[in-house]
């Protein structure tokens, strides 16, 4: 039972991190970034390739590399699509995503690359009768630290204030002197950092990485961002958390029928969208009229 709750919390935390990364970028430029999964994948590749240099250096390289790729996406593609609507941006990011997947296939090969990043995370801890996987504890702590850090950054710093301003009304924020390209660049960098954190947790769990490494979690986090509330950063984190926790709980309660977890999850997603098209925490500025 305790393990079930901890799993739900750690899954929720992990998906919350991924969703917040997507939500940050969505907030400032209305881009639902499918290619976030490829940021997670490059993070995982960098961890595996550089782990022999020691964990601290590996973390540094992975985080920097992922952030650089995020900026590169912005400069090469999305910066040129500033005037396009959300549907065009969504399709473009779909294209970037497939482009990078195939690119990884060329560079790293289609087969999984394996390696042990932090073996101590896969162990279990025992408290009397209950055993708890160490990974879930570490994930929860990491998620708390990063979500707390992001909260501090967004609520207490000038750049964070600008991101919030740009998220709620981009044009007005620009008129009031917020430098749009800088804010968007910052959002991409932070979404890259969050992607690297997600990559760290996932790659320690799985022990291997392949070109499609980030697709699954991105689809789910993306859905979390949307049902959480487009344009609201708390909403994104909350939506991601809800999706992750729901998956984990469905997995434990469905028992032998757990293969149908996604069916139930996505039916719930459709229902949430029908009842609240703007998301659970909706932001008035993004409402679209039918």
């Amino acid at each position: 039972m305790i393990q079930t709750i901890l799993d739900a919390l750690s899954y929720g935390g992990l998906y919350g991190l991924a969703a917040l990364g997507i939500g940050l970028v969505f907030g400032v430029m209305r881009l639902v970034n499918f290619a976030h999964g490829e940021l997670i994948a490059i993070g995982a590749y960098l961890f595996i390739v550089t782990i022999d240099l020691g964990l601290p250096l590996s973390i540094l390289i992975a985080v920097t590399g992922t952030a650089i790729l995020a900026l590169l996406m912005e400069f090469s593609v999305f910066k040129r699509l500033r005037l396009a609507g959300p549907a065009v941006l969504l399709i473009a990011s779909f294209g970037v995503s497939v482009f990078l997947q195939r690119f990884y296939e060329i560079i790293f090969g289609a087969l999984p690359l394996s390696g042990q990043i932090a073996p101590w995370m896969t162990g279990v801890m025992e408290f009397g009768d209950t055993t708890i996987t160490r990974g879930s504890i570490v994930t929860i702590i990491l998620a708390l630290i990063l979500l707390g850090g992001m909260w501090f950054f967004i609520e207490k710093t000038t750049l964070g204030l600008q991101i919030r301003a740009a998220s709620s009304d981009f044009q007005t924020a620009r008129l009031l002197g917020v430098r749009s390209n800088r804010v968007i660049g910052a959002a991409f960098v932070f979404s890259g950092v969050l992607a690297a954190a997600v990559a760290f947790v996932l790659v320690t769990q799985r022990g291997s990485v392949d070109p499609l490494f980030g697709v699954n979690i991105t689809i789910l986090a993306l859905v979390g961002t949307v049902i959480g509330g487009l344009g609201s950063l708390q909403g994104a984190a909350l939506g991601g958390f809800a999706v992750g926790a729901t998956i984990s709980l469905l997995n434990s309660f469905l028992g032998n029928y757990r293969v149908y977890t996604y069916t139930w999850l996505f039916i719930l997603v459709i229902i949430v969208l029908l009842v609240r098209p703007g998301g659970l925490i909706s932001n008035k500025a993004v409402k679209e009229r039918v």
Binding site: L81, P86, I91, E105, I267, P277
Partner: protein, 350 residues
């Protein structure tokens, strides 16, 4: 909010029926199909597969192009169509041997390809109607994500539920089309339907809702009803595409119609130009041609005495890059979203 891909300033006259707009694409497809399939048996196979994809892209066009609502869910109806025709035509003996967990009444059914195609289309359209009743309440990104959720549900169900199919395995021994003619006829029929429904009164009203929902409502258009209607037609066409694919490859499985299929067909539509039937045709031909050339290079080609071998994955890289480049530099697609006209498409830029 300007959405270049889906809103287009069509030239005047496009809403009137013009023979060249309908016959031009048909002639192109029929001639190309016969010429290419006459090269070799491999190319016949390629032509049939491409025609199935073309039907899918036309199905996407009729909904996405006219309504301006993005849908990732049409592949779900292709899945329904492929499975339906598979279950109806695979010989009873094969079903008993390979698909032993199948629901008993389904095991006993067997019919020819043509009646089975009709039923597959009907089932696909029915499911599209049923889901459209709910999903068409949404628009914009919510619609995109909700239709995506639909695809995920369909994939999850078909991949696991052995009562209605092979589960994660492949359904084998689906009877194949005898000749390339069947695929050509079906593709031409769909082109006629898509063009006629596009210029019909309801099609024009739906395009009006795409450009300005409020003004269209003032004209008495129910956005929801129109979208449900076109979503249903689109679902039926997608189901036909799935069924054509099944009869082309002789087998069908859930993962044939998943993210890769969705990406390819959506890329074809956007690259060609989402707002016209001609755009769907051009996009399908262009992407297939690029893909085929690169496939040759991936297996090694000698150009001027130099061996060139591209690594596996180069195809995906180039097609994805082409999609992004089109969105940046020519957001309305190669055709500019216009119907066929007897001029070279790249000469009449606005």
């Amino acid at each position: 909010m300007s959405d270049d891909l889906l809103r287009s300033s069509q030239l005047p006259g496009v809403t009137r029926f013009q023979w060249q707009q309908l016959l031009g694409p048909i002639v192109v497809i029929v001639v190309l199909s016969y010429v290419i399939s006459s090269i070799s048996i491999t190319f016949t196979f390629l032509t049939e597969g491409t025609l199935a994809l073309l039907v899918m892209v036309l199905g996407l066009q009729v909904f996405i192009g006219n309504s301006g609502v993005l849908s990732f869910g049409q592949a779900a109806f292709a899945m329904v169509g492929g499975f339906a025709t598979g279950l109806l035509t695979v010989p009873v003996k094969i079903k008993e041997n390979v698909l032993d967990e199948l629901w008993e009444p389904l095991k006993a059914i067997n019919m020819g390809i043509w009646p089975s195609l009709v039923i597959a289309v009907a089932i696909g359209a029915f499911f599209a109607f049923l889901t459209g009743l709910f999903l068409m309440r949404l628009s914009g990104l919510a619609a995109g994500i909700a239709t995506f959720a639909l695809l995920m549900v369909a994939d999850n169900v078909f991949f696991n539920w052995r009562l209605i199919g092979p589960g994660p395995q492949v359904m084998p021994q689906v009877p194949k089309f005898g000749f390339v003619d069947e695929s050509i006829i079906l593709a031409v029929v769909v082109m006629v339907v898509v063009y006629l429904i596009g210029i019909s009164r309801r099609g024009r009203l739906l395009r009006a809702t795409r450009e300005d929902p409020l003004a269209a409502r003032a004209l008495g258009a129910s956005v929801w009803r129109l979208r449900v209607l076109f979503f249903t037609v689109s679902g039926g066409i997608a189901a036909l595409s799935g069924a054509m694919y099944a009869h082309h490859s002789g087998a069908v499985s859930a993962r044939d119609f998943y993210l890769g299929f969705t990406f390819t067909t959506l890329a074809m539509l956007v690259i060609g130009g989402a707002t016209s039937m001609w755009g769907a045709v051009v996009g399908t031909i262009a992407v297939t041609a690029i893909g085929q050339v690169l496939l040759e290079f991936e297996s090694g080609v000698t150009v001027g005495g130099i061996d060139i071998t591209l690594p596996n994955g180069a195809r995906g890289v180039v097609i994805a890059a082409a999609l992004v480049a089109i969105l940046i530099w020519r957001p309305k697609g190669i055709t500019g979203g216009r119907e066929f006209a007897l001029r070279l498409p790249f000469l009449n830029r606005p």
